[in-house]
């Protein structure tokens, strides 16, 4: 049941990465552009759709992965020590088939596709990442979600001998995250296993990490070893560390500032020393796809 969602994000200058791009998505994007031109739609309306992915170098050298240190370059320096084979994911809680799922077995059953997503960090910088991965829904369906389940809890590997940052209590380890079940089942929500068609590097959350493109980056938990279906809102690491600053939802929202800085604008990584700030888009530009999930909810209260 893959390809429930079609990528509308494409890059005019992406020819050098074309090898990695899904051909159907390119064709779809081109058709969209042509259609808009035919009906005389303003070019500006499409501006947000013409996204230029960051370089592989930027994406894999500038990371927040505190398990390997708090510096942006620490993960790239220290994550080499992480063993990702064998890798099993425990899926438990309110599922029909709880148990340990081998990463290789999962991959054999999943349809991997490319998703070019905006990635907005809570620190007000952003990137565009061409992920490869599968929809989380497909993995959850594999385990059989029971009707009483309302939330999904995630957990990162805890292995301080390989993850040097875990020796210092920057956060409570292991890192935990959570989604409401409807968020988890949304077709935009993926488990990423690659970037630019290559296996996802350790510093980006190998072998498998969550990607929820309309939420701040820290929600997209890396190197997942455990997924638990539950009927209660699960604890989340940054919320435990500072509930005033980090809510459970953490949806990208230019109107709700972080307690210590504005979220109205962001700086796209890769623009050099004189990069201009750009406006942050509501729900990171995925308003059309996911705003309905939050209908009637006050996003400044449930931030």
């Amino acid at each position: 049941m893959a390809y429930r969602w079609k990528n509308t994000l494409n890059d005019n200058d992406v020819t050098d990465h074309a090898l990695f791009l899904n051909r159907r998505q390119i064709m779809g994007g081109a058709a969209g552009l042509g259609l808009a031109a035919a009906i005389g739609g303003p070019r500006a309306a499409l501006a947000q759709e013409v996204l230029e992915p960051n370089s592989f170098e930027d994406i894999t050298s500038y990371n927040n992965f505190y398990e390997f240190g708090t510096g942006k370059d620490d993960p790239a320096k220290n994550a080499g020590s992480l063993t990702t084979t064998p890798w099993t994911v425990t899926i438990d809680g309110l599922v029909d088939k709880p148990g340990e799922y081998d990463f290789g077995d999962i991959m054999a059953k999943m349809t991997v596709e490319e998703r070019i997503y905006r990635f907005r960090c809570v620190e007000a910088w952003s990137m565009v990442v061409p992920w490869n991965g599968f929809e989380l829904k497909d993995l959850l369906d594999l385990a059989g979600v029971q009707s009483s389940a309302k939330y999904v809890a995630f957990e990162t590997l805890y292995r301080p001998e390989e993850m040097v940052g875990q020796k210092f209590p920057v956060l409570e380890w292991p890192y935990v995250e959570g989604l409401r079940l409807d968020e988890a089942m949304h077709p935009l929500t993926i488990m990423a296993t690659g970037i630019y068609g290559k296996d996802i590097p350790n510093q980006n959350g190998a072998p498998m990490r969550l990607v929820v493109p309309w939420k701040y980056g820290f929600k997209s938990i890396k190197s997942v070893v455990k997924i638990t279906l539950t009927d209660k809102e699960p604890p989340t690491s940054w919320n435990i560390a500072n509930a005033r600053e980090y809510g459970f939802f953490s949806n990208v929202n230019p109107k709700v500032d972080h307690k210590r800085w504005s979220q109205a604008t962001e700086r796209k990584i890769g623009g050099g020393l004189f990069a201009k700030r750009i406006p942050t888009l509501m729900l990171n530009g995925y308003e059309e796809e996911v705003a309905s999930l939050y209908e009637g909810m006050d996003m400044s209260v449930n931030f």
């Binding site: 942006k72 620190e123 210092f168 504005s262 990584i269």
Partner: protein, 209 residues
Amino acid sequence: MIKDAINGSARKVPAWLIYIVGILPAAWFLYEGLTGGSGADPIKALEHELGEFALKLLIVGLCITPLRKHLGVNLLKFRRAIGVMTFEYVLLHLLVWLVLDVQIVSQIWADIVKRPYITVGMVGFVLMIPLAVTSNNLSVRKLGVRWRKLHKLTYGIAFLGALHFVMVAKGIQLEPLLYMAVVLGLLALRIPKNSLQFSGRFTRESVDN
């Protein structure tokens, strides 16, 4: 004696050399930022490097008196240059934040009043201005005793600088806490002995009660 060797060579090094050598790190940070050597976000990198270097200079400046008092190492003649360099680095750090990072004028003011860590940093910077302005022989002569009093502001500035760094960090991070510990340690060395005894007795009494 190491002490005498240091004092001897310090006598030979002119203080103005600090101004020239001191600007080299800033030039290096800028060069790295322009040529891609400081990673994917050179703006944040430059901002952080300048701020952290200013904090290091503040610490070096605070070391001079204890070094002389407790170890007999006299580097007093470099203190003004170190102080002025500290101000320059804080100013550059602030400029990078204003011009390259935040960019938007309306947001700058909103950040200063709304964000405590920026307020703290900003207060620290403003307190440095009178010190920078009076860092010349004429001011020392004219202000006399008041000059010494005024320059005690350095203690508060160092604390605010370290606090600014602690507050900006996400989660509990080691590096800013280490800076804070060093600053607090250097400030503790300034507390007069008799007031320490007083506070010691005070604490013991409170515990007894």
